[in-house]
């Protein structure tokens, strides 16, 4: 299958520190990939470089065949950040309207209502951003990302701050999006967050990808070891020397 995201020899350096070191990977259309790693492994930096929030020090990134910084590439993806900042003085509904304008979404209202209903925000449409709890901001952030119906979605630690029901909804959403043929890259340090839905897992440590395989293969690898679980394998791979 043709890749929708291609990352080639990506490096990101902060003064003397190598946050991401020469990583390469591809995401095929319709694939759900979990980017796992301990805190400080470089997951968020990788994601921020891909979506253009951070400048890459070296490497090439293309989305749908376009350079990732072009407007054409940005039409293809949405990004759900770890910390869900929203406009304090815009209501939930105005956020949806704003995103619809930014991405040029036609006939957006039914879709917006559907999303707000899914995330139980429909009765809070007139609430201002500043009056929302962190969890509600996260939900709004996800709704905003889904409204343009992007082909590729980047979730940076999406489960943090969500209540159990919203976590379940998000996992179901991943499945729905996958069924619709969307490509998803989920960055997380919680294996159970992606274990059930990811086709493939990439494990990062110290800015490098140290494992990149399908869940089935990784599980096989773990079990053929000494009966380890996927979590044990993850801890084994990412433990300090």
């Amino acid at each position: 299958m043709e890749s929708i995201l291609s990352v080639s020899h990506l490096s990101k350096k902060y003064e003397m520190q190598n946050a991401v070191q020469d990583i390469s990977f591809e995401l095929a259309g319709g694939e759900v990939v979990g980017l796992l790693g301990p805190n400080g492994a470089g997951k968020s930096t990788t994601m921020k470089c891909i979506v253009g929030l951070l400048r890459k020090t070296a490497g090439e990134i293309s989305i749908g065949g376009y350079d990732h910084l072009t407007v054409e590439a940005k039409r293809l993806f949405s990004y759900i950040p770890e910390t869900p900042y929203v406009y304090d003085l815009l209501t939930i509904w105005e956020h949806m309207q704003f995103i619809a304008q930014a991405y040029g979404v036609k006939d957006w209202k039914p879709k917006a209502l559907e999303l707000l209903e899914l995330y139980e925000l429909e009765d809070k449409q007139k609430k201002l951003g500043r009056d929302l709890s962190k969890g509600m901001r996260q939900k709004l952030s996800i709704c905003c990302a889904l409204l343009p119906d992007p082909q590729l979605l980047f979730f940076d630690e999406p489960m943090i701050g969500l209540d159990p029901k919203a976590i379940k909804n998000t996992k179901n959403l991943f499945k729905t999006l996958k069924d619709e043929g969307k490509t998803i890259l989920v960055s997380t340090h919680l294996i159970e967050g992606v274990e059930s839905i990811a086709d493939r897992i990439m494990i990062m440590k110290d800015g490098q990808i140290i494992g990149n395989d399908s869940i089935a293969n990784l599980k096989l690898q773990a079990e053929s070891g000494s009966g380890l679980s996927l979590e044990d394998l993850f801890l084994e791979l990412t433990k300090d020397e």
Binding site: G52, R55, Y79, V86, Y87, L90, H95, A102
Partner: protein, 541 residues
């Protein structure tokens, strides 16, 4: 441009929601109403007063130098110039940002052109500048209308001159940082700004030394008309002086210069900024007081200014309870400077004071410069209190959770600052009194003045932050509070201080009256702070 339409509609929604919020809670309008009534009262009082014959001033023809007028013009110009250079210097340390984190999350990843976003936000910064200018005009308009013939054109040039001065600073700062990230020329840029600062210092010192008495000649050059050609500061002065000179062509010329400069700066910013998102990310985050959270682990906002952020420390514990706050500040101070109690800047300022003390016995110099410096430092500590970085302590949950009384927490929060202040004041004033043979009471009065001034500034910062829920209220009430303290606390203090100084001719009496006045205001403000501190609550976002 779709981006402009998009952002304009967003800002209009925000404006409308703001109005709705005010309407939902009309009591919020009371302070603004009082301020409006005050401005109106002052305006009508002044305008109805007798017109002085200052419009007959013929500055060009004056063969004798009006030292008072020269010092007023020069002093204001010097302050504006200092502010301008300081802002440019700050740009070499940290970038300015026009954005909110919501823009980063929702707009930066959207299919919009980065340059159009930047252009919109850069142009939008004219609004606060213009608003401030209109306030300035509303306040001073009555006085000006009474003393001068301020017509519509005069008012226009006043507002525009004032607004453009503040307006141009942000794009210039952004340009400096952009040039640095693009070409890595931080050092030459910093040297350039410092170079202009040195030239500026020379423009004050040289005529001062050349004049029979330093303070009579120090502003001779920068108050002269040719200084109007100095970029930004001079142009604004030249433009605003229309109501004195009546030369609209000249003011229009300065306005054109501003327009050309703005156009050039914007062109350069757009050309060199490239994909600037990363450049503004950190400053946007720190602006929203979320740097620590967003970065995940190590960095703390205050560390951005650290000289020794990686310094290894092995400090003993100072005690339990609220003393932990003092310990944390001590650790912070150790990393910010080479010593937590006495830092590099303190040494610099103390040395300058001692140099002035050494010079003051000479005939061509004057004790007045040293006295002026002491008063300036007291004022500076007021600003330091307002801009207290550790105010972030109050936003940390542990400040509320530590099992100790509010007064103990407050005391430990400011204890290090007070020790630093007393040490600095002592290191400066002791040798200064001895060298310049000043009155020994200054050894007591000067440190007290510094501390009171700091406490007033701190209170002014804390009270609106804790006491007012609405961000907009804080932004707007803070200047009013400062205005109130200045009008009802500092102006009477300065008046009695000046009166005593005038009657006795002794600086120490003037300072004594000033310190007593400051002490009263500080006691009042600290009392309110202590009272309001109990209402502190943790806000996660």
């Amino acid at each position: 441009m779709n981006e402009v339409r998009l952002l304009l509609s967003k800002d209009l929604w925000i404006f409308r929601n703001n109005l709705l919020l005010i309407l939902r809670n009309p009591l919020r309008l009371i302070p603004y109403g009082i301020a409006g009534a005050y401005f109106f009262y002052m305006y009508t009082q002044r305008i109805s007063g007798s017109k002085e014959v200052t419009s007959d001033l013929n500055l060009d023809a004056a063969s004798e130098v009006d030292v008072a007028m020269q010092n007023v013009i020069g002093g204001v110009t010097a302050l504006a110039l200092f502010f301008f250079l300081f802002q440019l210097f700050r740009a070499t340390k940290k970038n300015i940002t026009f954005f909110k984190m919501a823009d980063v999350n929702l707009l930066f990843t959207a299919p919009v052109k980065p340059e159009n976003l930047l252009l919109y936000y850069m142009v939008r910064t004219i609004l606060p500048s213009l608003g401030g200018s209109l306030l300035f005009l509303a306040y001073s308009g009555g006085q000006l209308a009474r003393d001068f013939d301020v017509d519509f054109l005069g008012a226009f040039f006043l507002v525009v001159g004032f607004a453009l001065f503040f307006f141009l600073i942000s794009p210039l700062r952004f340009l400096i940082y952009t040039l640095h990230t693009r070409f890595g020329i931080l050092e030459p840029l910093r040297a350039g700004v410092l170079g202009v600062g040195v030239v500026f210092a020379a423009l004050v010192l040289l005529p001062g030394f050349m004049a029979p008495v330093f303070y009579e000649g120090m502003f001779a050059w920068i108050s002269s008309p040719w200084f109007d050609l100095f970029p930004v500061v001079g142009w604004s002065r030249g433009m605003m002086s229309y109501f004195v000179t009546g030369n609209w062509l000249l003011s229009l010329g300065y306005l054109l210069l501003y327009c050309l400069t703005y156009f050039a700066v914007v062109k350069l910013v757009i050309q060199f900024s490239g994909h600037y998102y990363e450049d503004v990310l950190e400053s946007t985050q720190s602006n929203e007081d979320q740097l620590e959270k967003a970065k995940g682990n190590k960095e703390v906002t205050e560390d951005a200014y650290s000289l020794n952020s990686k310094k290894q420390l092995a400090l003993p514990e100072f005690g339990v309870g609220a003393k932990a706050i003092y310990w944390r500040n001590y650790v912070q101070g150790s990393r910010q400077d080479f010593h937590p109690l006495f830092g590099l800047y303190s040494i610099g300022m103390a040395v300058l004071g001692i140099v002035l003390a050494v010079l003051s016995p000479f005939d061509w110099f004057s004790h007045k410069v040293l006295y002026g410096y002491l008063v300036l430092l007291i004022g500076f500590y007021f600003m330091a209190g307002i801009g207290r970085a550790n105010i972030g302590d109050l936003k940390k949950p542990w400040f509320i959770l530590i099992p100790a009384s509010w007064s103990a927490k407050y005391w430990n929060m400011i204890k290090l600052d007070l020790i630093q202040t007393v040490l600095f004041a002592g290191v400066l004033i002791l040798p200064a009194v001895w060298i310049a043979e000043l009155n020994v009471w200054l050894i007591l009065l000067f440190p007290l003045g510094m501390i009171f001034s700091y406490l007033i500034g701190l209170g002014v910062n804390l009270i609106p932050q804790i006491g007012l829920d609405e961000g907009w209220d804080r932004i707007l009430i803070k200047p009013l509070m400062i205005g109130g303290i200045i009008l009802f606390g500092l102006v009477p203090t300065i008046f009695f201080s000046g009166l005593l100084l005038g009657v006795t001719g002794q600086f120490v009496y003037g300072l004594g009256a000033g310190v007593i006045g400051l002490g009263l205001v500080a006691a009042l403000v600290t009392h309110v702070t202590m009272d309001i501190l109990k209402r502190l609550e943790f806000k996660e976002m």
